[in-house]
Symmetry: C2
Amino acid sequence: MDINSFDRYLTENRERLLEDYKDFLRQPSVAATGEGMAEMAALVARRLAGLGATVELSPTAPGAPPVVWAELGDGPRTLLIYNHYDVQPAEPLDLWESPPWEPTLREGKLFARGALDDKGELVTRIHAIEAWLKTQGPLPCRIKWLIEGEEEISSPHLHDWVARHREKVVGADGCLWEFGGFDEEGRPEHTLGVKGICYVELHASAVSHDLHSSMAALAPNAAWRLIWALNTIKGPDEKILIDHYYDAVRAPTEAELAVLRELPFDAAREAALKDKWGVGGFVTGVEGFDAIKRLYFQPTATVCGVSSGWEGAGAKTVLPARAMCKIDFRLVPDLTPEIVVDLLRKHLDRRGFQDIEIRLLGGYRSALSDVNAPVVKAAARAAERVYGRAPVRILLSPGSGPMWTLSEYIGGVPVVCAGIGHPDSRVHSPNEHVILANYERGMRFIGALIDEFARP
Amino acid sequence: MDINSFDRYLTENRERLLEDYKDFLRQPSVAATGEGMAEMAALVARRLAGLGATVELSPTAPGAPPVVWAELGDGPRTLLIYNHYDVQPAEPLDLWESPPWEPTLREGKLFARGALDDKGELVTRIHAIEAWLKTQGPLPCRIKWLIEGEEEISSPHLHDWVARHREKVVGADGCLWEFGGFDEEGRPEHTLGVKGICYVELHASAVSHDLHSSMAALAPNAAWRLIWALNTIKGPDEKILIDHYYDAVRAPTEAELAVLRELPFDAAREAALKDKWGVGGFVTGVEGFDAIKRLYFQPTATVCGVSSGWEGAGAKTVLPARAMCKIDFRLVPDLTPEIVVDLLRKHLDRRGFQDIEIRLLGGYRSALSDVNAPVVKAAARAAERVYGRAPVRILLSPGSGPMWTLSEYIGGVPVVCAGIGHPDSRVHSPNEHVILANYERGMRFIGALIDEFARP
């Protein structure tokens, strides 16, 4: 690989590529509401076709966003790339310093919903491949690229899609995942697995219609029912109280603990994280290596939203007929979404909460790669070339994704996550942004990764 | 009183009066949001001035809706009338069969927000007095009329207003309250007291901004904090768990229990109520006279609304930084709002919930009249004349209101509640309505009440 011509191309085309990046960000694509999904899929497909790829807009389910599937390049090895073109909702809008759908540069950072997650990652890869093709010639490996539109709502149709298109997806030698980035000290982080997730809504309904709250001495209240049910799921000591929940959780192996111990998580870094969150301590008072073990190998139960009755200004005296709550369970090996829903149903029933309905909105299993796989090593060498240092290795990211479907499920493809994020990127929050220097370094990293991975 | 000419006037002016009623309903006046309050106050004042009353739009607090104060008539006795011109919010709008601000007649019923509570009651009284003046001559008693604009948000400024205008308000021989009506079998109900209320918001905040939910193994969650705090306030056995709460609750006296026993609450009526609510039983499984005692003499703690995190469609994986809940405590003698807030603060602090903020949105004390007061007896005689039967007496309505301020506080003025509602009026809910026949009988009742009350 001739890095000089590659770099020169990026420098000479800087403004045009940045404008292209912004085009991706100006197009809303909120999977949770459906806003802009079709337009975004078309934009991605158009851009990949521009690289000379064979591109397919492949349906998933009626009314659901399609998978964009692209194939390009040729060589002895095949790299599978996974990205997604959907983003989280932008709300609450009033906390954004610039509008979420108008990408805005401030102090070397590009602000917009999706600036990083995941349009920033996708654009970095597209631009790097463009630069390769314009300066190095044909790609030295085969790339299969899967860009889905439902990652932010737990990829409800991806697994079925892969099952139906197994012949396209199998046979990759390694997979580059959608996220990644740098830690507080700027060290590249490579993640080799993800926690699973099980996302449910709980619905309580108590009376046929909202009543005047003066009837509360006799009429049941859906909000109270939901609160009492939730309280049986997790208590103030943060232990998940669902019967037999921890029976399905395996302890980390000695080898896994050894990799965890390499993590550069010192007192200063811990203090900085607490500071960023504005908290005096972590939950349960956990500290140091115990906090690391908890973050990477403990399951969670997170109330992501609650809604019932009158939520506007002032004092409406109403007894709510309905109440709703969203819960996100993060899963470590060997918990699965199926186990969680089954245990939760039995747990609620046993406590008299048969009236609480569980709706499964989506779920993934956890996944974990071999630390010595070729794609993992190629990424490490590329990081050393571009960033001048070995990556910090994270075994099991607390973030979730459908990695299991594109690794174990299709024959044990090893996966590495390497991207352009940084710890204050505000992913999923107002003021999401990317540091432009990371995007620029990230394109060089993708070039180097292709170069390293393609070698026998 | 010449009832024939009174009736004839109502019949001959039926359409015009109904149109006037609708004018009141077309004007939104939502105290919780402030919508239409100034316009509504002006409309009420104009209409009362049309009766020849001396009318004053009297300020309460900067930016808050004024009290409409009117005086008319003369005679040995003075009747104080209390109404309110504000209404509850109309939401949820999609459950209304006709738009809430377009009064619509269907099957002898008039549907609109405020059709009963309280514009229906106010209009009935205005129209009855108009008919009296047009057919009987001058009023035989003095009427002092207080119509406030903040009843539905717990009358935050009424008490101060009465304190500042004590000279206007004192000296009444009895008071006619804003609500009332008929029971399931059409018997008139006269209520002689109300429960108090204490309406608070609880606010939890845990981290400085919403986080990605993958951080939940370490970061505190405002929604969970609020759920755990709420769970210490009331449990599934419906007992309020705030320390020392029941110390402040007095038991009903034998005399009060005797009046409760007169209530026509039989098995059929109990079954009908459960049916209407769509429930198999009341909370705690209470039945019969125990249900009556619970409804009238037990305090309540009602979650009226909860809000946190992502409440829209789909699965947003967010860890909420903030959570809010509204609670309405209904108070029996001798609980007061001041006692509730004090006990709640200490209770939460003792359990480690110092971080949960309590905001008092409003409150009333409870009030209870003497069953033998002249205004109570006059109302009973008027009910017998117009409805042909003695009223069912209710000591302590589970609905709340600022009755204490207009009874005990101004020297012990006895109060009676007598109105035009029926049990399925859907007050505070979608499809609020009045049975037109009750409005028509209600005007005759007001005429008879004036006649009975004015006699020495």
